[in-house]
Symmetry: C2
Subunit: 269 residues, 2 copies
């Protein structure tokens, strides 16, 4: 592994729950030597990716990220394009929704919104979606490039006792996602949380991300599932359109056979 990767990995250790990390703690989290970690932090600090809080000597994310994040959204306005369909999705389903973006073989969280409708909500605060254990992740494997399956198999972390742990069990999930046109997770990532996800595509014709709805298991009736599926299909179509892509015919077909009442819009004109 390149030293640059190792340095960049340190950035993913920060989270909303732990926005400041000291040197020693970071060594433990990164499972690396103190001297190495220190040098990496020096590099990141010089580049403005982290900064040191003078008082506590802790490190936190740096100002350059704001700059670069702003420029990313300026060049590829994905966040802006997904907001409106996502708001509708929250309204219609009354559940927690996520939009994720695929880059390389990693599925990054982009936006998440919670509905105020219920007091018990699915709160999932992650920065990257595990490919094997989430509806969005399964979506990415099922409809993304072929190498996604191998990438998913590289990390079979067990989140619950329902998390798929072998290539075979994952393959089953992927196959069912391919036939239904949607990812589905029943307690695979968190117990008592079920979720559904639909793929999103961009102008390259490749899978660009996923949109998902997470609900608590006790509420997850067939009626709600049907509502969510219909709303997800709409959201996926709209976000895909705003990102400059089109839904592949195979997926429209899968949706139509699974949800015959929800006809594909005529986009041939």
């Amino acid at each position: 592994m390149s030293s640059a990767s190792k340095a960049l990995e340190l950035l993913s250790l920060f989270s909303e729950a732990q926005p400041e990390i000291g040197l020693s703690q970071m060594c433990r989290l990164a499972k690396r030597d103190k001297a190495t970690t220190y040098r990496h932090l020096q590099v990141l600090e010089k580049a403005g990716f982290v900064e040191q809080v003078v008082a506590s000597k802790n490190y936190r994310l740096g100002p350059a990220l704001l700059q670069l994040g702003r420029m990313r959204e300026a060049t590829v306005p994905r966040k802006a394009g997904a907001e409106t369909p996502l708001a509708t999705l929250v309204d219609v389903t009354g559940e927690t929704v996520h939009v994720s973006v695929l880059s390389g073989s990693t599925l990054f969280a982009l936006i998440s919104r919670e509905s105020p409708k219920h007091s018990t909500r699915a709160v999932i605060d992650i920065t990257t979606f595990p490919l094997h254990a989430t509806a969005s992740g399964n979506c990415a494997v099922a409809f993304g490039p072929d190498e996604m399956f191998a990438a998913a198999c590289e990390n079979f972390e067990a989140f619950t006792d329902l998390t798929p742990m072998t290539p075979e069990s994952l393959e089953t999930l992927i196959a069912s996602a391919r036939t239904s046109g949607m990812g589905r997770s029943v307690g695979c990532f968190e117990k008592e949380i079920n979720s559904l996800a639909a793929p999103i595509f961009d102008q390259t014709g490749q899978l660009a991300g996923a949109v998902s709805v997470a609900s608590v298991a006790s509420r997850f009736t067939p009626e709600l599932e049907s509502i969510i599926k219909t709303a997800l299909i709409t959201a996926s179509r709209e976000i895909t359109k705003s990102w400059g892509g089109t839904i592949p015919p195979a997926i429209e077909k899968a949706w139509n056979s699974a949800m015959p009442s929800h006809q594909e819009l005529d986009t041939s004109s």
Copy 2:
């Protein structure tokens, strides 16, 4: 120089004017070998810091930056805190304004706003402020940590024929900034652009950034300069307050002697 630094440097080659860069072009910009640049891009892509546009094979900033930028602003809400004073500053001066943030020895651009008042505006689109050639940069050297002067001397790039090119000429500018409590650039960065800058501090008591106003030289009368100075002092006080800092007494004193009409607020209570 570490290889990680070299990889991170590539990110600073992207700009609003040039949001997509191909491999060969990036080699030229970075003045590095093609193989090395390629590997660096691979690392950055795997980390989600850049992504490759499949159609053109060009690279652009990646989705991870959005994620990290969001987290940075969540942990250190500097941008939000500077917006309001900055809007006032634009209103009062009718000129282009910038807020920059110091990290390490680099001064990063944070926000910039243009006034709709004049058709000719100072348009300065940079991601980092040269320490020797800008009002904000001089501010950082004058009021920041001691090592800033050495850092400034490491890069004496000549932007115009008025850009200071020697430690001695820079020293003169810094000295006058220290006595007036403000940075001042007269065509040092761009010909026909004059600007003034005031320092910003945070809870560490250290300099945290600078706020600046840039005007076209033909408009830069003593009256306008006076208006700008007064407005800058107000903006600097407000942003500093919102970032949890206080203006050092020495600077308040410098402002008061330079602008006797603009009394320091009584903050002793």
